[in-house]
Symmetry: C2
Subunit: 163 residues, 2 copies
Amino acid sequence: MSEPVSPIRPTDAAARALARSLVAGASFGALGVLHPGTGIPHVARIAVAPAIGGGMLAFVSGLALHSRALAAAPKAGLLIGEPGPKGDPLSHPRLSLSVIASFVSAEAAATQGLRALWLARHPKARVYVDLPDFRFVHLAPTTAFLNGGFGKAFELTAADLLP
Amino acid sequence: MSEPVSPIRPTDAAARALARSLVAGASFGALGVLHPGTGIPHVARIAVAPAIGGGMLAFVSGLALHSRALAAAPKAGLLIGEPGPKGDPLSHPRLSLSVIASFVSAEAAATQGLRALWLARHPKARVYVDLPDFRFVHLAPTTAFLNGGFGKAFELTAADLLP
């Protein structure tokens, strides 16, 4: 009997650079939260932007299920690394972040210039950026799983992702 | 004080048709599982195909974290509805399924012709379809959340999704 071979490779500079480029380039992601009613994972597509100083920003409606879920259980998962229009999604690199969500107060968002940062990445957000029920959420990574394509898997730390 | 308006619309024939078309057209999705070590949602990109008789099929490596997670906790989330190459991902329709995963035995997969079904949707899977550690998983929806774009949200039942 042979033991299964671990698919995880030792983290190297190329893996860190790839993961950082996925964070820096992300505009959208798949957010996995615990459904507040059932406790079962619920996955929603959300818009994101890299946060100054590390981690990701999201901008969510208080009416959305995933907002209520994050408020109740802030430990969540975020998949980033959208496949290109023609590439095979399973050979396109992607990053599964384990994150802790914290809602940003309107005062802190203003101080940090988050509205301008958000509009720079999401120009179409002009139609909803000033709606009263929307709030910024900072998603701070604790660990990350990088899949750089078949056979190229890495387990990364939060420090590996810092810009 | 005004009450928040529910963003959920009554399910109609157009919503059912849209959801069924997303199921029928899906090749990839974002699977949300409970990380077996931490219990925190973990989101992975997976290949999928619509299953005969309803629900989705996945084909997963036993080495993958999400496979071990599904074996330990089969209630999961699956987001389908990939944005087109140029469209705004948040205005593209998508479906968040709540699913129960069941691994398909090699015998049942052979009887049901799943290998041919899989290769019809994923021709590049020829390079891994016969690897010994891969197994088919049936993802049976229990409920679904359809987001047809801003302000077009629906809560659907499993029956709403049947072909």
